[in-house]
Symmetry: C2
Subunit: 225 residues, 2 copies
């Protein structure tokens, strides 16, 4: 990871880098101006503006009409922000009694605090967590993600069993649904039945059975046993 001498990037630049990182990962391709505008909740012309600035700083590779890709430096910066975001989420949930659906907004602010010592001491204080409260992996100080083979619950077949290790959708609404039905990270899930027509599932969770729609099963990450 390149050294950070001063406050290197503005809050807005960091948010763009993070957004590009997420889009590259989910789209598995370069990121279009419109996609970025959608992600950033802003206008395409604002994106073009910012993307040019990021390009001037060599944080992204940009060619007119062809979208952006992160450069190595840009990717490192994005990962650093994501690392901080996820560490703060762990802190909020584990130390300050936040619920997993309450942490995002505050972590969005905390992720921009600039202090290498702070980040690394926080990491140590939290005992080097590997995942945030939604099950997303936390990059280490070198920017390496601890990757594990996870699948979506919707991909399991009848009779298969797994442990819930994360969520794809981490909106407050979805997280509250999970809370209400007692689904949390670490829970064992057995697929009892699968409906062909609408892809809904009957699952076993502790001792109860629960019927869930495909929207639920397609947003729960599972580690198979």
């Amino acid at each position: 990871m390149a050294s950070k001498i001063f406050d290197m990037f503005s809050l807005s630049e960091e948010n763009y880098l993070k957004a590009i990182f997420h889009l590259e990962n989910s789209l598995k391709s370069g990121v279009s101006t419109n996609a970025l505008a959608e992600e950033m909740q802003t206008k395409a012309s604002s994106v073009t503006d910012m993307v040019k600035r990021l390009s001037d700083k060599d944080l992204v590779n940009y060619k007119k009409y062809q979208g952006v890709k992160l450069s190595q430096a840009g990717r490192e910066a994005a990962i650093e922000v994501i690392r901080k975001h996820r560490l703060w989420e762990v802190f909020l949930v584990e130390k300050l009694n936040f619920n997993w659906d309450e942490v995002h907004e505050v972590a969005e602010q905390l992720e921009h605090i600039k202090s290498e010592k702070l980040t690394n001491e926080l990491d140590k204080f939290l005992d080097f967590p590997e995942r945030d409260p939604h099950g997303d992996p936390i990059p280490d100080a070198q920017g390496n993600f601890h990757i594990s083979n996870r699948v979506l619950l919707s991909n399991l077949g009848v009779g298969e069993t797994g442990i819930c290790i994360g969520v794809k959708d981490s909106s407050a609404e979805f997280l509250q649904y999970l809370d209400k039905h007692d689904i949390s990270l670490g829970k064992k899930i057995v697929v009892i039945e699968k409906e062909d027509f609408d892809k809904s599932m009957l699952i076993k969770l502790d001792d109860q059975e629960l019927r869930i729609s495909s929207q639920i099963s397609a947003n729960l990450y599972i580690k198979t046993l």
Copy 2:
């Protein structure tokens, strides 16, 4: 304390409010444009600019050529920022192994994080500390300072004894001087000798005797026994 609906103030506005608060307290009067410019490390014309904006929002009372005073709302906002700053300093020192001369810069960033829940949970997590690592009082959630009668060491007479409870100058240089000579909050200090000429003092600290200049004694707060 008035309710905070959204992100009420910008980072810059908060810094100005904080600076005005500190200057009002030390000057015990209204704050001049130049004094504010000096405190904010900026130009007088920039101060006039900002002071007008703060005045439009009724955070300060401002009349041309006559300096500013905080309004009630402005004072509350300033105190809230100071509360957060000092709570974060305690967190950094007590939980993350920061030294008391390293916390300021990071706390300057953390003090602007907006989340009432975060602030209050942090307060609880730290067990409602009354003072920050430099001995400055931490306002409670209602904005009340816990005030105690403290004096500067330079005001003690020969033979008098007190407990070190804070520093007036909290620059890294001064704090490092104190570390080097083993002076820390809570230490008992006895004044053995006082030099009329240069106001230097011979003090007893644990079992050692130490000669300190008036620049030191005029920057150490003492609670007399």
